[in-house]
Symmetry: C2
Subunit: 429 residues, 2 copies
């Protein structure tokens, strides 16, 4: 019977078959040890001279790293082993013998590992990160599904820019130009007026020439949008969402997160409410720093780090200057130079993981903003329609999956948070 390692506890004492790969091997006297992986976990297998045919002892040296192999044996409880079981190995059959596997237990440079990403993902650490990623994405979706949001996929191929025109990937779409979506935001505003509460979730693209630990050119973004919601409603939704995904992930993937040497105490405290800091107050604090911050600008990485020092939980900065935000962001009625926007900054220097706010619902103001941002009015006819026909206030935000995952796992760089990262100078494998 073919069994996966994750189910092995059900088969103690029975002879079973497993299919997978050699993780590594060692010998201790006449006893041979095989650490075997099948994608669902690692399993220590022991070959005793008395328990197997002689030929398997002779063939054992063929079990080189990453050789694919079908093994048979009997699982037993063994508290000292990973997972709590080990396999008394009876026989094995090599499927494909691997020679000179390029990734050995010795240290490799990041460039080399990135070139071999298709193989690097088999290693323990990458395995743990990507399992947490899958779980995180599930919990992100679950949160919105449970709360009555309708998933409405936004298109990737779009005729115009959403977040500024300098970071667009362009493609020829038959007779005209199209651009890869930077955000589903504008389309969410249409679907929010149809379904009340919506979210989209898909890859988004920014042709940024940034080589930082926070930038990918292709990243996954989850974006909810709610009709009749205010900036305050939006911050409440965002904090409930973050608490949910962090706590659920911790519940279900504690072992993987711990294996990354993440201090999980720092995650356990991620509970609502999160602090809300007015941009003006943040600016006031930054006066005491030496980051060179100038009032009216967006925060740079040093500014975010300075502000983060005071917090052990994510916190909002709200009401950023209107001029640094996208054209659709609503003006603050109390101060026309500010916007009803909010960013959520993660602690420990991770910085912005969410950006969002209330959208301008007034057609005349919006038209002026489109013009002021140098966008072509003819591209926004359908978007203006949303203000002509039953306009309502809406608010929403976007969560970058990779940045959130880097924070949850405590990773130094987003490049490890996605199976095949796309960055400046990185389109392969």
């Amino acid at each position: 019977m073919r069994v996966y390692i994750e189910d092995i506890g059900k088969y103690v004492g029975q002879e079973i078959t497993l299919k997978g790969w050699v993780y590594h091997t060692r010998s201790s006297g006449k006893i041979k040890f095989l650490v075997f992986r099948d994608g669902t976990g690692l399993l220590q297998c022991v070959l005793f001279p008395g328990e197997t045919d002689r030929k398997f002892l002779d063939l054992f040296s063929d079990l080189t790293q990453e050789t694919s192999v079908i093994i048979s044996g009997v699982p037993r409880v063994e508290k000292r082993s990973t997972g709590g079981f080990e396999l008394g190995l009876k026989s094995f059959e090599i499927v494909h013998k691997t020679l000179d596997y390029p990734i050995s237990p010795k240290e490799h440079g990041v460039g080399f590992l990135m070139e071999h990403r298709h193989l690097w993902i088999r290693s323990k650490r990458q395995h743990a990160i990507l399992r947490v990623r899958a779980s995180l994405i599930k919990h992100c979706r679950d949160f919105f599904d449970i709360n009555g949001f309708i998933l409405c996929d936004a298109p990737i191929l779009t005729p115009s820019a959403c977040e500024g025109t300098t970071t667009l990937f362009e493609t020829q779409y038959f007779e005209e130009k199209a651009y890869l979506s930077q955000s589903g935001q504008l389309y969410n505003e249409a679907t929010a007026r149809a379904f009340g509460k919506v979210y989209c979730f898909g890859p988004t693209f920014r042709a940024e020439k940034s080589k930082t630990r926070k930038h990918l050119t292709e990243f996954w973004m989850l974006e909810p949008e709610v009709a009749f919601a205010s900036l305050e409603d939006n911050m409440e939704l965002a904090e409930n969402f973050i608490e949910y995904i962090v706590q659920k992930n911790l519940e279900e993937k504690e072992e993987e997160i711990k294996s990354l040497e993440r201090d999980i105490e720092r995650l356990k405290i991620i509970k609502t409410p999160f602090d809300r800091l007015h941009y003006n107050d943040a600016a006031e604090r930054l006066k005491k720093s030496d980051t060179g911050f100038v009032y009216g600008n967006d925060f740079g990485a040093p500014d975010e780090s300075f502000l983060c020092q005071h917090y052990h939980k994510p916190f909002f900065v709200h009401r950023f200057p209107k001029k640094i935000k996208a054209f659709y962001m609503k003006q603050d009625p109390k101060d026309p130079t500010l916007s009803l926007s909010c960013d959520l900054l993660a602690p420990e220097g991770y910085g912005e993981i969410i950006g969002g706010g209330a959208r301008e619902e007034n057609l005349e103001i919006l038209r002026k903003e489109v013009e002021r941002h140098g966008l072509r009015e003819e591209d926004f006819g359908w978007y203006f329609d949303l203000r002509k026909y039953g306009s309502v206030p809406t608010a929403g935000f976007g969560l970058g999956i990779e940045r959130a995952l880097a924070w949850i796992c405590g990773l130094p760089h987003v490049r490890e948070t996605i199976p095949f990262p796309r960055m400046l100078e990185r389109l392969r494998p």
Copy 2:
């Protein structure tokens, strides 16, 4: 207290507030009727002269179609109403009055509706379809999550073609060319060797100049891949998956599906096993047709329709000729002119909703296939590595969400199955 229509049953007899839009209005003598929508449903509201301030009777004519409005009143049980409740309307406040809403209850041409897709999605039928879509996607993911598959997102920006070079969207990726993914298949083969059982789910792109009822240039595809799986395992996985998603959707979205006038008896019978038809046997049957089918070719729409006649459930055609399949498809050891491939064809003329098969795991054969298909060997170095290091048989398939949804909902065209369809001559809105 602000309430959504979907929760109204909890508030019978209490005064509540709802926020949404006017769906339509009518008068019957002195009594005014408002059908109100908030994205979660429709609600009939009744304004009686004795139960409200005089001014609301006068203002009632301002409630034009799609005017956004906040209403207050008391819900009561009313079996004749949609949803089983109606609202005794007490007062309302107009948020934004809509003039000349372009979509009226009269018939519009499809071209006009597609131009106004951002508004069309507010109508009852589109609303139902897109709610079923959201539910379908959730069940697709659930099936694989429950069965221990790990979600591994494949990249969209890729340096090479996967499914042929004639239907690629190209973009400038800094100093080089990149192409929008046609399938996550090749990347799934890498992640399947890391995680055993994986799936990817995201938008895929084909620059096809086809104007048929089955083609979108941007469509969502769910693709599982399993290490150590055979063609037979793959068909078993696919049929279990289809039964699961159809039955779950029927359970949770029966009302919406019925509202589309779909005969749900045709869906209730979608249970495993599904028939398996060898390509040669299918070809034999087609001899009796007048479709002009030639042995060795792929099926055209008339061939699929002819074959479908015999079936009330989806059925597999397996072992298509090698020459019409992608380079990675494994040769049939019993007949080298055939491949270990399978398509799943939906009944009622819907045709192919799944395509898949076993992948070639032998490096030398694969190299020759890459050459034979005119692909550049240097683009596939990382893919060849999967055969150099611990090669194993893998099999998998792809389900096109939009085609599956068209079948489940009984729709004549895929253009209604996605919020913002992208087709030849359609990049807007």
